[in-house]
Each structure stands twice: as C-alpha cells, then as structure tokens.
Subunit: 334 residues, 2 copies
Amino acid sequence: MATIYEVSALAGVSLASVSRVMNNHEHVSEKTKLKVLAAMETLNYRPNAIARSLATSRSDCIGILVSELHGPFYGDMLTGIESELRAASKHAIIAAGHSDEHTEKDGIDFLIDRNCDALILLVDAVSDEYLIELSKGSTPIVVVNRFIPEIAENCFYLDNVLGGYLATNYLINQGHKQIAYISGPENKQDSNDRIEGHKKALAEANISFNKSLCFEGDFLTTSGQAGIHHFIEKKVPFTAIACANDEMASGAIKGAREHQLSIPNDCSIIGFDNIFITEYLFPQLSTIDYPITEMAKMSARWILKNVYKNKSLTINNLFLPSLILRESILSNIK
Amino acid sequence: MATIYEVSALAGVSLASVSRVMNNHEHVSEKTKLKVLAAMETLNYRPNAIARSLATSRSDCIGILVSELHGPFYGDMLTGIESELRAASKHAIIAAGHSDEHTEKDGIDFLIDRNCDALILLVDAVSDEYLIELSKGSTPIVVVNRFIPEIAENCFYLDNVLGGYLATNYLINQGHKQIAYISGPENKQDSNDRIEGHKKALAEANISFNKSLCFEGDFLTTSGQAGIHHFIEKKVPFTAIACANDEMASGAIKGAREHQLSIPNDCSIIGFDNIFITEYLFPQLSTIDYPITEMAKMSARWILKNVYKNKSLTINNLFLPSLILRESILSNIK
DNA sequence: TTGTAAGCGTTATCAT
DNA sequence: ATGATAACGCTTACAA
C-alpha cells in the first residue's frame, strides 16, 4: 500500500499539500492539485483510514448497536439506517447487544473505541441513567425504540400505548368483549406500553381487565403458541386475541390450528409491528403498523444533521402506529 | 480519556512497561505489573484501539460483508458468525454489499481499510477472478455460499445441486410427474445449481424438462406469486411446484390461494432453505434444509484457526442439504 | 500557496 | 527487567 509519503515524493510536493488535496482544502493551486492527483492515480493510493482516524479522532463511521442481528424488526432497522447513511457516503459499523447489560456496554465501548462519529443504539438492558451519562460524553448518541425524557431529542420512538389501544379498540368495535392478550416480557418498556394501551381501550368500553385472559410471552413465536394453549386449557372463553407482536401472533395462529380453532371464524386475532410475513400467513394477519424503516432512517438523519451538519434536514422523534386490516378479524356483532 | 502516558507517569514506569503489561508480555516484574495495573484502574484507562491498530496493523476485528442486512438467510448468517467470534472475544464489523459490484468492492475496501484481521464475504456481484486476486492480498478472506475452485479451502458452500435434486426427487417419488419449477435469477450460482439438481432428478425419472413449466423468479416472495399466476394463466398442467427458495414458495402459496387452489390437495409444493417462517405458513412448508448457521460458524472458525492460530479447530467446507417434510406435499400415486 | 514539524496513542527494537 | 526512541500514516498549526 502506498503511503502519503510516496505520493508526496512522486508529486514533488510536501506531505501537507497532499493532505490538502485529499481533503479538498481551498488554497491549493490547480497545478499542485493536478500533480498530486496524478501521483495518487499512478500509485493507486488509498489513504489509511486508521492513521487518519488517529490524527483526527473522527472516522466517517456511525456505530450501530442492535439487540440481535436477525429477525425482521432488527433487519429492517439496520437496512433503513444503512441505506440512509450510504446515501450520505457514511459507513455503518454494526454490533450486537443481545439484550444483555454487559454485552451492550461492551458493544458501546467497542464502537466508541473505533472512533465512531456517533452511535445509534437499540438497547434494552442498560439503564436510562447509563444512557443519559453516555450522552454527555464526546460521542453523540441516539436511542431508538425507547424514550428517555432527559434526552428526548435523541430518542426515536413509537407511541406504543396508542398502538395497543388501536388494536384492542378495533376488536371492541367489531363486537368483541372477551379479548385475550398475549403480552411481551414484563421487563421491556414497549411491552408495558402496549398492554397499557390495551387496558385503556378496555376501560373506555367499560370492559374490566381480566387477568386470566392475559398471558406473558417473550415476543417469540413459540410463546404465542403457548399462550393460546394456555387460554384453551384454562377454559377461559374468548372471541379474540390481541398479541403484542406479529411473531407471537404467528405462533398463536399455529396453535389455534392445532386446537382445530378456525381463524377468524372461531377467534379473531391481531398482531403488532406489521412485519413482512404477516401478508403470507393464513389468514393474512391484521396488525398495527410500526414504521420501523422510517424511524431507522430518521435516527440516521439526526446524525447527518447534528454531527455532519447537514442543516437542511428536518427531524421528528415520535412515530405513530396505524391499523392494518387484513383477514384475521371477524365481526362479532350479532 | 486517559492515555498510556498518564498511566506510565502515575505508575512511575516507562511507556514500554505499560505496553508490556497491557499485552501480557513475559519478563515484567510482578512489582511493576501491579503498579501499572493500579494506575490503569485509578485512571480508568482504556487503550486506544485506533492507535494500537495503527502501530500493529491488526485490529482483533473481522469484517463481514453480506448482500443485505435483512432477511432470514442473512440474519441467521450474521448471528452465526457473530456468536462464534464473540465466544473468541473477537469483534465483527458488518457491512452490506447489496449484490452490486461497486458497492461490494467498496465494502471490501472499507473493511480492509479498517485493518480487519480477516474478511468473511457473502458476495455475488464481484467476479471469481477478483476474489482470487483479493485472496492473495495481506488480509485473509473466506467466501461463504460460493465455491471457487482456485481458493476452495477458503470457500464454504452448500451442495445446491444435491438440494435441488432432493426436492424434485421426493416429489417424483410421491408420484408427481408434472412438476413446475420457480427458479432464482439466472445470474446467481446457487440458482443455477439448484435447477440443475431439479433437472437431474427429472432426467433420472425419464421425465423430460419442460421449459414452459419453468419460471424465473428473483428469490423474493412476489416472484413466487407471479410464478404460480404465470403457470395458471398459461394453462400448463402441473401437480406440484418446486421453488428455489422458501420466500418464493411462500408467495406461491399465497398465489395459489388467490386462485382457489388448495395446497397440498390441488398442488404440492416444496421450498428451499428451511427459513424460520416455513413452520408458520399454512400449510407448513416442506423444504430443503440449508444449515446456514452451521456454515456461518464454520467460516468464523476457519479464521479463528488460520488467523488467530487456534490449531485445535477442525474445518469442513462442504455442507449438505437435507429434506424436511411438513404438510405441503401430498402423494399423487393413484 | 506551500512547507516544516509537532502531534495523535500505541508498539517494538534496541540498548542498558 | 526496564527505558529511550523510532516507527505507524495522517492532520494541522505555524512559518515562510
């Protein structure tokens, strides 16, 4: 690999001049610029990103930390961010946090140590306090799918309460009164927000929340399956099920089939997130749309604006869920 | 951030000594080691990875380039690699190539410029020659889901021909003779291998390959849907469809439903890859298992062995597909 | 406009 | 066993 020294020697100018043309500095004569460019060309010169980063403590890279590297949610997230950054000629460095506090902190340190210019974080094991403290450091951060009042401007999040409300409210409007709920894990904020929306819709319709119609899942398909088994076994009557995400809804549909329950005839069902497969399930799953790609792009845009000073961008932090109607819900109005 | 200078000053030793204890060199007295460790502790010292990388031209990072950051195939791949590397305390730097030659090369350059110790590449736009040339460079590379004879040892791949054969052969054994095929794009090696296996099974059973029973898809669900529409429109009779991947099979199932075709009663169907959702489709999709996670882990293991000198690891390059039977195939034996 | 030279924070080669 | 000191390849005052 050719270095800047060789370029400067070949071009017959100083290191500084080479550096200047590399970085498009003004005040370089056309003549030296051409000489340098030519030398770079013939030497097939590629600047050493590490050396540059050491000298500037910048990197033109954005660090991204997600819980998992697989799954439709994280996949769409990553793709959204990467496409936005690539369009701005920035690179993404991606790492996984696995919803484990130590791993998440480790990943954040790794990204910071790589001199990332900013971080996009999808984390759920580290505390709010940790993130607040982190945001005071020299590496700007942005938090996705989580709201922390103290750093609200750096948060991008969905109105999960509204989403939960929308789902159950629609079921109620279709005449359902006995609505089972398969929730996400209790230790996750979005879980809790979604079920809060569910309860709100129930309350509004004067339907009391029945704890035995509630099953705590883990956002994975298998727990959706387990949920419906549970309800059937316990012989609690229900005409509809709201699930805190589409994966669990998929599991619930499968579980229903195992019990000869026909969906939506015997039981209506609604999911949450609107992941890709919802259209390919049978019946096609009604759900709540989570504009994850948009949110992902927006988080990247914040960095483009605030770190790379692209002032023209406009930012918004809150995203709204919306109802997507497909085949999995039947009216229960007599 | 504290630097090595401050540590050395506080500990009352030279830079070199600090560096030595950081890197667990032998020939450091217990006394200085303790002094240094204490100083590091109180200063909350974290070595600067960039400076270290500049000095050593290593990074303890492995670069990974995948076509896309979303989708079950790539997701599982990434997760497999990352888990294997993490267990060895190595970090992954992930980038996307988008099946575009320029973007892939750009991503590779990016990873090399980051001083990655090795690269794991899932690319399909760059040529074999390019990769062969690349493998002669100073950054070791490994290629996944692709076989290049000249660098066979660095390739990890599935026997796609066998997979294609297994699928169609099973259909034939079930009495199917009119078997439609929805292929992947013609410019991809795995597409071509899979259809080759399909043809082989046909030939073995003395069934001539009928071009009008073949539809070229693009590995996305929509093209599976388009495929079955195409066959029905053209009024070519068929009792089974083999698809070159599960996504297209999902689309085909959906398309069949739109035409009031009941699966598997009116038409059997088989996919390829055994992605997660196959179990949640209706009917559950029979398919060919692609041990993608295993392969991903193996590619990481090659690097652990050959780059980081963990000699005890054993490597194998070829992976075998296997038949997964679920609900989407019905016997057609009268 | 151009060049000199001092960093950036490590590692690694020599001496001692 | 320890300490100077020269790399590593680039950026950036500061001078000229």
